[in-house]
C-alpha cells in the first residue's frame, strides 16, 4: 500500500469551514483502510430519497433559469463513446464544444470533450489552444476487466496523446468481493500514471447497488487521490440518479470539511433534458454548497443534453418553442 498523493485545491481558499488542524488520512495497508471505512456512518436510504424528491420539486424561473442553463452548458463534458466513433465525428463534436451555438456568441464553451484514448490526439489537434479540455476514458473502459499493467499503459498513452483529464473505472468485482485495498491501490497507481492530468474515478453506481457501497467507494476514490468522483460509465442499465449523486456530493462535502481538500463530482449517463440538469444543480447547491457550482467541481457527462440546454436557452430568450433540428446532431 502506498500513501495517497496530495491534491492541489485547498477548501479553505473556497470558503469551506475546515478545522485548524486538518487530518489528511494516510492509508498504509488494507486494515487501516477497512477501519477507516467502517467508521463511516451508514446512509439513510429513505432520508436520501425523500430529500431528493423534495429538492426535485424546486423550480427555477426567468433569469435564474437562464443563468442555470448557461452554468450547466459550461459544465458539460461533451461525450462520444461509441464503437462507431470516427475522426470526423470527433471533429464535429470538438467544433460544437468550443462554440455550442454559432448564432449566439454569449453561449459559453463546454468544459471538456470526452473520447476514447485513440481519439485523444485528434481531439487535441482540433481543439488547439481553446479552453475546452480533452478528457479520455481509460483503464479498459467500461468494464475495467484488464490487468493493472494494461490499464496503466492505457492511461499513459492517453496522457501522452494530450489528455487533460482521465476517466478511470474502478474494479467493481474487487470492490463487491470486499477487496477494497486492491481498488485503492489501483486508483493510487492510476493517479501516479496521470501525472499532471486530472483523475476522475468512475464508481459505476448502478453496479454497486447500495448507497452504503457508493459512499464507501467514494471515500476509497477520494483517499486514493481522485480529483473527481463520477457516477457511471453510461454503459449499464442504471446510470446517474439523483439519490446516488446526493450520496456522492455529501461524501465530497464531508471529505472537504475533514481534509481541507476539494474533490469534484461528475454525473454521467441518462441525463438528457434541461429539467434533469437543473434538478442536479439544485441538489449540488443544497448538498455540497455553491463552491461546487462551477465546472471545476461539477460536471455533466452527456451528449444529447447539450442540445436540449441550447433549445431551452433559445426558448427563454425568444419565447417560442424551438425546432430540435435547429442544432446539429453530434
Amino acid at each position: 500500500m502506498s500513501i495517497a498523493p496530495l491534491r492541489p485545491v485547498d477548501a479553505r481558499d473556497r470558503g469551506i469551514l475546515v478545522p485548524a488542524v486538518v487530518s489528511i488520512p494516510t492509508i498504509h495497508n488494507e486494515d487501516e483502510l477497512r477501519r477507516y471505512l467502517s467508521a463511516l456512518s451508514g446512509v439513510d436510504a429513505v432520508g436520501v430519497e425523500s430529500r431528493v424528491a423534495k429538492l426535485s420539486t424546486r423550480s427555477l424561473k426567468k433569469s435564474t433559469k437562464l443563468t442555470a442553463i448557461d452554468l450547466a452548458i459550461s459544465m458539460v463534458d461533451l461525450t462520444t463513446l461509441e464503437g462507431a466513433d470516427t475522426q470526423g465525428r470527433v471533429t464535429s463534436l470538438c467544433t460544437k464544444a468550443m462554440r455550442p451555438d454559432p448564432s449566439d456568441l454569449a453561449v459559453p464553451a463546454v468544459a471538456a470533450v470526452c473520447v476514447y484514448p485513440d481519439l485523444v490526439a485528434h481531439a487535441r489537434r482540433v481543439l488547439g489552444d481553446s479552453p475546452v479540455a480533452v478528457a479520455s476514458v481509460a483503464t479498459a473502459f467500461p468494464s475495467g476487466r484488464a490487468s493493472l499493467s494494461v490499464k496503466l499503459l492505457d492511461v499513459a498513452e492517453a496522457v501522452q496523446a494530450g489528455a487533460d483529464e482521465i476517466d478511470m473505472v474502478i474494479d467493481r468485482g474487487a470492490f463487491l468481493a470486499g477487496r477494497w485495498g486492491q481498488v485503492f491501490d489501483e486508483i493510487v497507481a492510476v493517479k501516479a500514471a496521470c501525472g499532471s492530468a486530472h483523475l476522475k474515478v468512475i464508481l459505476e453506481t448502478g453496479e454497486l447497488v447500495t448507497y452504503d457501497n457508493v459512499k464507501r467507494a467514494s471515500w476509497i476514490a477520494m483517499l486514493g487521490g481522485a480529483d473527481f468522483i463520477k457516477t457511471s460509465t453510461g454503459k449499464v442499465g442504471v446510470n446517474a440518479t439523483l439519490p446516488f449523486a446526493l450520496v456522492m456530493l455529501e461524501a465530497a462535502r464531508d471529505f472537504a470539511e475533514q481534509t481541507g481538500q476539494l474533490v469534484g463530482v461528475k454525473v454521467a449517463g441518462g441525463i438528457r433534458t434541461t429539467k434533469d440538469a437543473l434538478k442536479y444543480l439544485v441538489v449540488v447547491n443544497e448538498t455540497a454548497g455553491a463552491t461546487w457550482l462551477t465546472a471545476e467541481f461539477f460536471r455533466f457527462g452527456a451528449s444529447s443534453l447539450l442540445n436540449d440546454l441550447l433549445m431551452q436557452r433559445l426558448k427563454q430568450r425568444t419565447g417560442a418553442y424551438v425546432r430540435p433540428d435547429e442544432f446539429s446532431g453530434d
Binding site: G319, A320, Y321, V322, R323, P324, E326
Partner: protein, 283 residues
C-alpha cells in the same frame, strides 16, 4: 343493497395515445348549453402543448410511412368506432350545443360521414394534387404531395363535433400529425371522439387533443417552431395576429370560410408540400 354511486368522468387530454391530466394539475368547469354544470375538464398548459408536439413529430413519421391504403383503413375504423358509439356522441353534442335531439343526430351523422369521406381521400390525393410533368429529356418528372409534418389546429368554438372533425381529419388524411385545441366552452364531444382513436389503430400521437383556455394556448401554438402548419379557424378575432406570428417560422396557415364548398380541396392542399422527383426512363 345500497344505492349505486355515480361513476363520474373527468375529461383528460389525449396526448401520444394516452390520456394524461395537465402537467399543471389544473382543470376547469364546463357547463352545458343550459348553463348547468357538465364536467371538469383538464386545462392544458404550454408545457402540455410542447409535449404534444414532441409526440406528434415522432408519430408523423410512422403515420406517413404507412401506406395510403392503410391510412384510409385506419380512418375508416375511426368512423366505425364513432358509429357504434353514436348515441353517446349525440348526447354530448346535444348537451354542449343545446340542440334538439334530431338536430344533434344529424350533426353526429354528418361528422361521421366526413371521416368516411376523408378516409377515401388518403390514396386519391396523390392523383389529384400530384402529376407527371413534361420535361425535355429522357426522364420522368413527378410532382408528389407530401405532408407538411405537424399541424396545429384551433378547432371551431361553436361546432363542437362537426367543426372539430372538419379541422383535424383533413390534415391527418394526407399524412400529417395533429395537435388540436378543442373548443374552449364545448370540449367534451371532441375529447370523446379523440378517445376513439385509441381503438382505431392510429399510432399514438397522430391526433393529440388539448382542452383549455384558447387565449392562453394559441400564441405558443402559432410561434412553436416545430409546428409546420396551423388551422386558425377557431381563434376568432385573434386569427390575424396569430397568422402574423405563424409567419415567423414560415408556417402554412389555413382558415375555413363561411362560404366554403364542402368538396373544396383548399384545406388538403394547404397542408401538403410538393415534392418533385426526377427519374431516368429505363430500357
Amino acid at each position: 343493497m345500497s344505492e349505486r354511486l355515480d361513476v363520474k368522468k373527468t375529461y383528460k387530454l389525449v396526448v401520444n395515445g394516452a390520456f394524461p391530466r395537465s402537467e399543471s394539475g389544473r382543470s376547469y368547469q364546463v357547463v352545458a348549453a343550459d348553463g348547468k354544470f357538465l364536467a371538469n375538464v383538464a386545462q392544458a398548459s404550454r408545457k402540455d402543448l410542447r409535449e404534444a408536439v414532441v409526440a406528434a413529430r415522432a408519430a408523423q413519421i410512422k403515420w406517413w410511412n404507412a401506406t395510403a391504403y392503410n391510412r384510409g383503413q385506419v380512418l375508416y375504423r375511426w368512423a366505425e368506432m364513432a358509429e357504434s358509439r353514436r348515441e353517446e356522441l349525440v348526447e354530448h353534442v346535444q348537451l354542449a350545443e343545446g340542440l334538439k335531439k334530431k338536430d344533434a343526430q344529424l350533426s353526429v351523422a354528418r361528422a361521421i360521414d366526413r371521416i368516411v369521406w376523408y378516409s377515401g381521400w388518403t390514396d386519391k390525393v396523390t392523383q389529384v394534387l400530384g402529376g407527371a410533368n413534361p420535361v425535355a429529356g429522357p426522364f420522368f418528372n413527378f410532382s408528389l404531395p407530401v405532408p407538411s409534418g405537424v399541424i396545429g389546429v384551433v378547432a371551431p368554438q361553436q361546432s363542437s363535433l362537426e367543426g372539430f372533425v372538419e379541422a383535424v381529419a383533413a390534415p391527418i388524411c394526407v399524412g400529417n400529425a395533429v395537435v388540436a385545441l378543442a373548443s374552449e366552452l364545448r370540449p367534451t364531444p371532441a375529447i370523446v371522439l379523440a378517445e376513439m382513436t385509441a381503438t382505431s389503430d392510429f399510432p399514438g400521437g397522430v391526433l393529440n387533443v388539448l382542452t383549455g383556455f384558447t387565449g392562453e394556448l394559441v400564441a405558443p401554438l402559432a410561434t412553436h417552431e416545430d409546428i409546420d402548419g396551423v388551422d386558425l379557424t377557431g381563434s376568432g378575432e385573434l386569427s390575424d395576429e396569430l397568422a402574423r406570428l405563424a409567419a415567423g417560422s414560415i408556417k402554412r396557415v389555413y382558415r375555413a370560410r363561411a362560404n366554403d364548398d364542402e368538396n373544396s380541396l383548399r384545406q388538403l392542399r394547404t397542408f401538403v408540400e410538393t415534392s418533385t422527383v426526377w427519374h431516368t426512363i429505363g430500357q
